[in-house]
């Protein structure tokens, strides 16, 4: 055994002690944050001025919409028929230790037509990328962040491909297991690729908008602090607002938005907030696809839900997303059923990955090309077989 659990034991004990201390501190700080949230409605004018200053400083916070910021909205009643679609992707990244350089993105999608009594439709679409154009950006091999971003864009693309036809038959909601505001941690040389990815993503969102299909990105166990940044901003004097101060969340450090919305009861959603992340303001909002966020207590589990502005601003769309999520989280408590199933359809297991490698090797060998895993990889596989 490589891991000495005996040595780890005192460290685990200390970790639990630290977590317990943090929970006690949070029990005091969370109500303070909630009090600031409630006070926002009373200071709209002052807040607007602060928000205008902060947004000029590339502030990645959240702006209240017409809703009272501390509002809690119960779930609207479920009306059938209702179709819920979900897409999820998984990938095999390029690996020089494998028999050949390639990557693969597999899309899993499920269409659940509630109220029809029919079996849901399952879709699984693998796509292989292997040409030099696929694999390289100039001299650089595509980064894992880039491939992950490509997968995220394809997820919404899959929804845009399938949802319009559904929307002609029944009210339809489309879900992804991810934020709608792409998080692209790309290198400088990938700037053009970033723009192209976002443009494609926005075109998919527009297709859904034109088809009248509200779309939502779901994040379980969210760690985001956009609303906390808003609360921090509200506590600053306008003259004291600087880019440096806006980088932190001040007295609310290490809390999350989910802590703030702990007051939501099962089934309730929070008010909607518009995200002010620079990418949102630069790329999404000018195209009418600005991303907004609300929090939802789904059977006791707090979810972050990202929706485009055209969903946030259209109460029937927002209600449809809300009611669909509550219905979905009734079957698999705390997380939408269709997303669990889409993941199941998308995921590429280690055995399947090994199968692809074998098939690659065989195809290449038939053309007289030697292909095998690196000696390092073979050694690791051997260990896996014997351990």
């Amino acid at each position: 055994m490589a891991l000495d659990l005996t040595q780890l034991e005192p460290q685990l004990e200390h970790m639990a002690h630290t977590a317990s201390q943090r929970a006690q501190e949070n029990a005091v700080r969370v109500p303070q944050a909630q009090a600031v949230l409630r006070s926002l409605a009373d200071n709209r004018a002052a807040l607007s001025a602060k928000l205008a200053t902060a947004c000029r400083l590339a502030w990645a916070g959240a702006v209240p919409t017409d809703d009272a910021p501390a509002a809690a909205h119960p779930a609207p009643p479920l009306s059938l028929p209702l179709t819920v679609l979900a897409a999820d992707g998984s990938q095999i990244l390029p690996d020089r230790h494998r028999p050949a350089m390639y990557y693969l993105i597999n899309m899993g999608c499920i269409i659940l037509r509630l109220g029809t009594g029919t079996a849901p439709q399952q879709v699984s679409r693998p796509q292989l990328f292997y040409t030099e154009d696929d694999l390289y950006d100039g001299d650089n091999l595509l980064s894992s962040a880039r491939i992950t971003a490509q997968r995220d864009v394809q997820e919404v693309g899959e929804l845009a491909r399938l949802a319009p036809a559904e929307a002609t038959r029944a009210p339809t909601v489309a879900l992804v297991d991810n934020g709608l505001l792409l998080y692209l941690s790309l290198q400088d040389y990938e700037r053009a690729a970033k723009k192209a990815l976002i443009a494609r993503h926005i075109s998919h969102l527009r297709t859904l908008e034109q088809a009248g299909v509200p779309v939502a990105g779901i994040i379980d166990r969210p760690r985001a602090a956009n609303v906390l940044r808003l609360l921090h901003l509200a506590t600053l004097d306008e003259a004291a607002i600087t880019q440096d101060r806006l980088r932190s969340v001040g007295q609310f450090q290490h809390l999350t938005d989910a802590d703030v919305f702990g007051f939501l009861q099962p089934g309730e959603r929070s008010a909607v907030f518009a995200l002010t992340a620079p990418d949102n303001r630069t790329f999404y909002e000018p195209e009418g696809q600005g991303v907004c966020v609300f929090y939802l207590n789904a059977a006791g589990n707090l979810l972050r839900v990202e929706v485009p502005q055209w969903v946030a601003q259209h109460p029937p769309h927002l209600a449809l997303v809300h009611t669909a999520l509550i219905e979905q989280c009734h079957v698999t408590p705390g997380f939408p059923y269709v997303l669990t199933r889409a993941h199941e359809l998308a995921v590429v297991s280690e055995a399947e990955h090994a199968d692809v490698d074998v098939r690659v090797s065989v195809k290449l060998a038939r053309r007289g090309l030697a292909a095998s895993a690196s000696h390092k990889k073979q050694g690791k596989l051997l260990l896996r077989r014997t351990s």
Binding site: I110, L112, L114, G117, A119, P120
Partner: protein, 200 residues
């Protein structure tokens, strides 16, 4: 014909030279059946182990458990649950092997190796293997399996793999073999003979 479509039915998860277990995620209609003939590579592909499916078990699946416990479950979820590729564990009794083109009705020299692919036997392979019926003795001695049902089911599959005009003679020959193996237990023999005449 044991499997109408994809002949790859799963991947080996544990084995001995007497029996082996594979995991399968094929959808329900293509799921391996009790008594069906399957094969697994062994000895670095030099040998193919032939076996009979004798147990099929649904493995633990949290999602199914969660769905089953949901009150007022809409029918769409039940239908989806049945469509899912739920992992199953399939136990197989080794009854022979093929090496260098020759078929042997005996325990294989080595078991198949973990993670190897298990495939359904093709009708021609079943016919060739069951030209002799010595494998029924191995089944009769496999007390961990439902012996009588397994012998009968394997004979029925072997008969079904043959052209219709050859089936009566094959079943007669299998009946004689069973009579020898079960000569001391006429009740079991009668039951086995009745079963091999039951259509698939």
């Amino acid at each position: 014909m044991t499997f109408a479509t994809a002949p790859v039915v799963g991947r080996l998860i544990r084995s001995s030279n007497r029996d082996f277990v594979f995991a399968s995620q094929v959808p329900e209609p293509d799921m391996p059946l009790f008594g069906a003939w399957v094969k697994a590579p062994a000895q670095r592909q030099q040998t193919e182990v032939f076996g009979l499916v004798y147990n099929i078990a649904f493995t633990e699946d949290e999602l199914t458990r969660q769905i089953a416990a949901t009150p007022n479950l809409p029918p769409e979820y039940i239908l989806d649950g049945r469509n899912r590729q739920i992992p199953i564990e399939v136990s197989v009794l080794a009854v022979g092997y093929r090496r260098e083109g020759r078929l042997y009705q005996a325990l294989p020299p080595q078991p198949p190796v973990t993670l190897d692919q298990i495939t359904a036997c093709l009708p021609d392979e079943i016919v060739a293997f069951t030209e002799r019926l010595d494998y029924l003795r191995l089944v009769a001695e496999a007390r961990e399996t439902p012996v009588d049902e397994l012998m009968s089911a394997s004979v029925r599959y072997a008969a079904a793999a043959r052209p219709p005009d050859q089936r009566p003679a094959f079943i007669r020959q299998a009946g004689l073999t069973l009579a020898r193996l079960l000569a001391r237990d006429l009740t079991r023999l009668e039951s086995a003979l009745n079963q091999i005449n039951t259509p698939l």
